[in-house]
């Protein structure tokens, strides 16, 4: 498959483009990271993150590919791995900071509540919201992907789903505050 065809698929939010890129470039990317002191698990994780970056970037109308797609992915992997190595080296040299401990616990608690509420959403609601916020799909695209009558239906559903999620999170968070 040509690079232009892959990019076209990504723009259409066709996930099979990711599968193709993953299979095609796996060996090369993983080797690069393993050669630079990474494990295969870490390499997989970084490579997957790199593909997500491509998924996000290539969707933008301003995106211009100035090299081969595999070269582009390779450079993203290199950058991500460099950052990861820096993060790891910082962690080994750092002392735990006690000051932010309660704040982190609070943040963690909130994160747990939010994640639970997202999990509890119906599949359609979850898809609408993730397509909208992560994949940047328009209401038209969401309607087409999920089989709604039109963009207006998608918009109304999105509004209701978001409201449902917000209300659940707020009610749980308030209850938790009250119990505390």
């Amino acid at each position: 498959m040509k690079d232009s065809e892959i990019l076209e698929k990504i723009k259409k939010r066709d996930e099979s483009a990711l599968d193709y890129l993953y299979k095609k470039n796996y060996k090369m990317m993983v080797k690069m990271i393993i050669r630079n002191n990474g494990s295969e698990e870490e390499a997989k994780d970084i490579f997957q993150d790199a593909l997500i970056v491509v998924w996000q970037k290539a969707y933008s109308p301003d995106f211009v590919l100035s090299s081969k797609l595999s070269t582009y992915i390779y450079s993203i992997c290199q950058n991500l791995w460099r950052k990861e190595l820096e993060r790891k080296s910082r962690l080994t040299g750092e002392q735990p900071v006690e000051k932010g401990e309660s704040y982190d616990l609070d943040k963690q608690e909130r994160a747990n509540i939010i994640n639970k509420c997202i999990e509890d959403l119906g599949e359609t609601c979850r898809k609408i919201l993730t397509y909208y916020y992560f994949d940047n799909l328009s209401m038209n695209d969401i309607a087409e992907k999920l089989g709604f009558a039109n963009a207006d239906t998608a918009k109304t559903k999105k509004y209701k789903c978001k409201k449902e999620l917000d209300n659940k999170i707020k009610s749980l968070y308030t209850a938790k505050d009250f119990l505390d």
């Binding site: 996930e15 990711l18 599968d19 993953y22 299979k23 796996y26 060996k27 090369m28 993983v30 080797k31 690069m32 393993i34 050669r35 295969e40 997989k44 994780d45 997957q48 993150d49 593909l51 997500i52 998924w55 909130r110 994160a111 939010i114 994640n115 997202i118 979850r126 919201l129 993730t130 397509y131 909208y132 916020y133 992560f134 994949d135 940047n136 978001k162 999620l165 917000d166 999170i169 707020k170």
Partner: protein
């Protein structure tokens, strides 16, 4: 319009990146002035970030389920190509052996191997091009080739898939006389007595390499011991690592080439084991039971 609703709507548009630059600036200014809106904005930002993380995790899980160990969907094609290649090889071998005097000893064949060794350098370039391997892999190959080595050379190719004549696909045999554990073989090993044994007896340890006609790349074999890793293997930096007591009994590595790539097999104590060149982790050697492949490997031996 309800002020709260208005804020919610704006927050949502802002987080979804739907505001223009001017609107963004206005909105940022607006939320700093109103602490209630600011708090709501922070919560909404957190929720949206979690939704994004959720989707990201979903896509990563999708990728995780892709089987990358199977090199490609051309496995069937590879086997078919291997069969055709072996047939061609058998034919080439039959004619070459038939035309040779029966009493011709094995040693001259080996001598020829060393005499013709420099020629292989000329043939490396086109084959390397054909492989189109990543640059970093090629550098390893070049390094490996610069060292003197004992080799077991076995190769079958499909003439129609490669731009080479059938003559060049003839199998070359060389023997691995003495294999020192883990360390690279030395030139002095060439003088070892074992070197003069019959090449048809496959009782050798050593390295595998492409034929003189076209060197693909070198794979050094390293033998090592690891706790709980008896009879395991892995490939790393273009080297095959065998874990177990491979220095006690003879083993043999066979190679089948086809369009889809190279298939490597280990023969040990009469059984064949598949070797995947992309196997980075240490895994147990798995015996192959596919009769077709075994037959091809047996015929390759003959």
């Amino acid at each position: 319009m309800d002020n709260n609703f208005y804020s919610q709507d704006k927050i949502d548009d802002f987080l979804a990146g739907k505001l223009s630059e001017t609107e963004k600036l206005k909105f940022e200014e607006y939320i700093t002035k109103d602490p209630l809106v600011n708090n709501e904005f922070k919560l909404q930002e957190e929720i949206v970030n979690h939704l994004k993380e959720h989707r990201k995790a979903e896509l990563k899980a999708r990728l995780d389920n892709i089987n990358v160990s199977a090199t490609s969907s051309y496995a069937g094609l590879k086997i078919a190509a291997g069969i055709v290649g072996t047939l061609l090889l058998s034919t080439a071998l039959y004619f070459s052996l038939y035309n040779k005097p029966a009493e011709q000893p094995a040693l001259p064949l080996q001598s020829m191997e060393y005499q013709t060794a420099p020629e292989s350098a000329d043939l490396k370039a086109p084959e390397t091009e054909a492989l189109a391997a990543p640059a970093e892999e090629l550098s390893t190959v070049t390094h490996a080739e610069s060292e003197p080595k004992f080799e077991i050379k076995r190769e079958s190719r499909v003439a129609r898939l490669k731009k080479r004549s059938e003559k060049q696909t003839a199998e070359t045999l060389a023997l691995s006389p003495a294999f020192t554990e883990v360390a690279e073989p030395k030139i002095s090993d060439f003088e070892s007595e074992d070197f003069h044994i019959d090449p048809t007896v496959h009782q050798h340890k050593g390295e595998i390499q492409g034929s003189n006609a076209a060197k693909l790349d070198n794979i050094s074999v390293k033998i090592g011991q690891k706790k709980n890793k008896d009879f395991h293997y892995q490939f790393f930096s273009n080297k095959l690592f065998l874990y177990g007591k491979f220095n006690e009994k003879p083993y043999e590595i066979l190679e089948l080439n086809s369009k889809g790539g190279r298939e490597l097999y280990l023969k040990y104590e009469g059984s064949y084991y598949a070797l995947k060149s992309n196997q980075i982790d240490i895994v147990p050697l798995k015996e192959i039971h596919d009769k077709e492949i075994i037959r091809e490997l047996e015929s390759l031996k003959k």
